[in-house]
């Protein structure tokens, strides 16, 4: 790992929630690394823990969450070749250190632009709030100029007028641009986008995605994209993680996952998406059953109950991950025989 600049290194992340007197494990032994300048997509159905994973990394969790991990390391490569290391796992959720990371180093774009903007403040004030918080010496006027610059970069027409608007005066796509501007204003190295376009129309989604791709390539930013849209993944991501019931079931580069999906869940997930140009009369593959309740999961493979290849061995113990190709990990006993990596 000499040349690779690992910006985020997560090892054995476990997150549980206390609820009704019992502890429910939501994230189980999640490990991944993100290189600088690359984008990582986390895909899975709702409830598979993709949002909880990134919220555990940024420590934006409710009080009943218990986060454990071997380590969560964020490395900042800003200004120098020697990275500055931050042990996120050792920080307290809302301590000074963590707060200084959120914004200037790691920032998030949330799903619903309608809900993530405050309706009673002008959008300009909402953009500069983070900037002023992290740069105490900056004047409001300077900050506003930076905000206007940022909006120009994001392709918003007449930004001088737009900063004086309230959120209700803007359309959905515009609002999402404002949310991205808020996330970008402190020039963070890592942007986490949690379903950034789910609430938007396809044409607007294409605009926003184009924009994010440009930010990534032009400014060499790293992106974690959370989505359930397989199409977006192929257009945006370099690496892909597939999650099911809180566990990474398959991990690899975009090409590895899409040209050689090896976990039964990934295969079925990919073939259950209707693709344009499907022959008339052709049927979609479906995954039988529905996702189990995380509170009553037994040991063994989480997917066993819905898997057509399930054997007795699948129902026992912890299923290890096998590396079937360099960088391509599959957590399935059908790949046994390859090198165990996890």
């Amino acid at each position: 790992m000499e040349d690779k600049k690992i910006i985020l290194d997560v090892k054995n992340l476990n997150t549980s929630f206390k609820s009704d007197g019992q502890v429910i494990k939501i994230i189980k032994d999640v490990s991944f690394q993100l290189e600088k300048g690359r984008s990582l997509a986390i895909v899975g159905e709702s409830g598979c823990g993709k949002s909880v994973t990134v919220h555990s990394v940024t420590r934006l969790m409710a009080k009943n969450a218990i986060i454990n991990s071997d380590h969560v390391i964020y490395r900042s490569y800003r200004n120098s070749e020697e990275p500055k290391e931050y042990r996120i796992d050792k920080m307290s959720n809302y301590g000074k250190e963590m707060r200084s990371l959120r914004g200037p180093e790691i920032s998030m774009v949330f799903q619903d632009p309608m809900a993530s903007l405050n309706p009673v403040y002008r959008v300009g004030d909402q953009i500069i709030e983070g900037l002023l918080e992290h740069n105490k010496s900056m004047s409001k006027k300077e900050a506003m100029e930076k905000a206007i610059d940022m909006l120009k970069k994001l392709g918003i027409p007449a930004p001088e007028q737009r900063v004086k608007d309230y959120p209700y005066q803007l359309s959905g796509g515009m609002k999402q641009r404002i949310v991205i501007a808020i996330a970008m204003i402190n020039d963070p190295e890592l942007i986490i986008a949690d379903e950034p376009t789910t609430a938007l129309d396809v044409t607007i989604q294409a605009q926003i995605m184009e924009l994010m791709k440009k930010l990534q390539t032009d400014y060499n930013k790293s992106i974690i994209l959370i989505t359930h849209n397989m199409g977006l993944v192929t257009e945006m991501a370099d690496d892909v993680i597939v999650m099911y019931m809180g566990r990474i079931v398959e991990k690899g580069s975009l090409r590895q996952i899409f040209s050689n999906p090896s976990h039964p869940y990934t295969k079925m997930l990919l073939s259950s998406v209707p693709v344009l140009g499907l022959e008339q009369g052709q049927k979609l593959t479906t995954i039988p059953g529905s996702t189990p309740n995380p509170a009553d999961l037994k040991e063994g493979c989480e997917f066993a109950g819905r898997c057509p290849f399930c054997t007795d061995a699948c129902l026992k113990g912890k299923i290890p991950g096998f590396e079937i190709e360099e960088g391509h990990m599959v957590r399935c006993l059908r790949c046994a025989g390859h090198k165990e990596v996890d």
Binding site: D201, S259, L276, T291
Partner: protein, 327 residues
């Protein structure tokens, strides 16, 4: 073949007044559906696509008389005689509703959380005058069998179901009085992909079994193409293109449809990407641009498009398009 049409819409307009001031003076109209002429054939699936605010839901509601058209006629032809549903009396409307049912977008809010599925499903039967309890129960059971839900689930509450099951219950509730037409308004957009595939396949099976006609409204073009025989593309209350689903994808005409199709991210590696990113947003339906509604965002806009509104015209092969480029 007029006989083949179960629905025929002629110049349907649904306008909502915009009122201002103390006297509620009407200052303008939101032209949600503006001058749409289409037909729905028997036993086909007509897909309606478009971005949010293009009027696809309002058009679906106009077909169900949930919204009274401001202008134009909606003809319904069940048994060979065409009737204008906008002129129906109260009794006729009641009968009509037996034949046309709707499935709504969000299965979480379409079922009353305080009521058991039994009560929920019994209601339409009671309204439509099925007095015999045993008969009602038989019909409910048949409907649940159709959607592969165990009959003893009748005595459960909605919170005990998953999203896919709820949507299946909604389909069962719509199907139990044997309608001829199902209007599905974004029926699968609230579901996960694996569940979505289950529901879509189920809907296709039911259609074959019961000779149903679907009007399938959705914003997801890949889902619509999978389900539909013909597709209507709407933009700002106007029908801009209508064709067989295969024809529409293979031989896309209207610049809006072209850009809409190119905007869809497809989960296929190494697709040759010729993306057309549309600029700006959909204009307000209150102050529509003059001429072609799409001309401000169109990359092939001509002088003529700014003043003259194109009409939906047949360009052969059952392909209709409203664009000056193809005249």
């Amino acid at each position: 073949m007029a006989d083949n049409n179960i629905f025929r819409l002629e110049n349907v307009k649904v306008w909502f007044p915009v009122q201002k001031g103390f006297f509620k003076k009407t200052v303008g109209h939101v032209k949600a559906v503006d001058d749409v002429t289409i037909n729905v054939k028997r036993n086909e699936t007509l897909g309606i696509v478009g971005e949010s605010g293009c009027g696809k839901t309002t058009l679906g509601k106009a077909m169900m008389l949930l919204e009274n058209p401001t202008g134009g006629d909606v003809y319904f032809n069940e048994d060979g005689t065409e009737k204008d549903i906008t002129k129906f009396s109260k009794e006729e409307r009641f009968e009509f509703r037996k034949k046309v049912q709707m499935i709504f977008q969000d299965p979480y809010s379409a079922l009353n959380p305080m009521k058991k599925i039994y009560t929920e499903m019994e209601e339409p039967l009671l309204i439509h005058g099925y007095k015999d309890k045993a008969e009602r129960e038989y019909m409910m059971e048949q409907a649940l069998k159709l959607v592969n839900i165990p009959v003893d689930y009748l005595f459960k509450y909605p919170h005990e179901f998953s999203g896919g099951q709820r949507q299946r219950v909604c389909i069962a509730r719509a199907m139990e009085i044997n309608p001829k037409v199902l209007v599905c308004d974004e029926a699968v957009s609230a579901l996960d992909v694996s569940i979505q595939a289950q529901v879509l396949n189920l809907m296709k099976d039911i259609q074959q079994e019961r000779d149903l006609t679907y009007v399938f409204i959705a914003h997801d073009l890949s889902v619509v193409q999978y389900m539909s025989d013909r597709i209507l593309v709407m933009y700002l209350g106007k029908a801009v293109e209508m064709a067989d689903s295969i024809e529409l994808y293979a031989n896309t005409k209207h610049p809006y449809t072209v850009s809409l199709l190119s905007a869809i991210p497809v989960p296929v590696l190494d697709r040759d990407k010729k993306r057309i990113i549309l600029k700006g947003d959909v204009p307000s339906p209150i102050n529509k641009p003059a001429g072609c509604p799409f001309h401000e965002r169109c990359d092939r806009c001509m002088e003529r498009c700014k003043t003259e509104e194109p009409q939906l015209k047949d360009v052969g092969n059952g392909h209709f398009v409203a664009c000056h480029l193809y005249e």
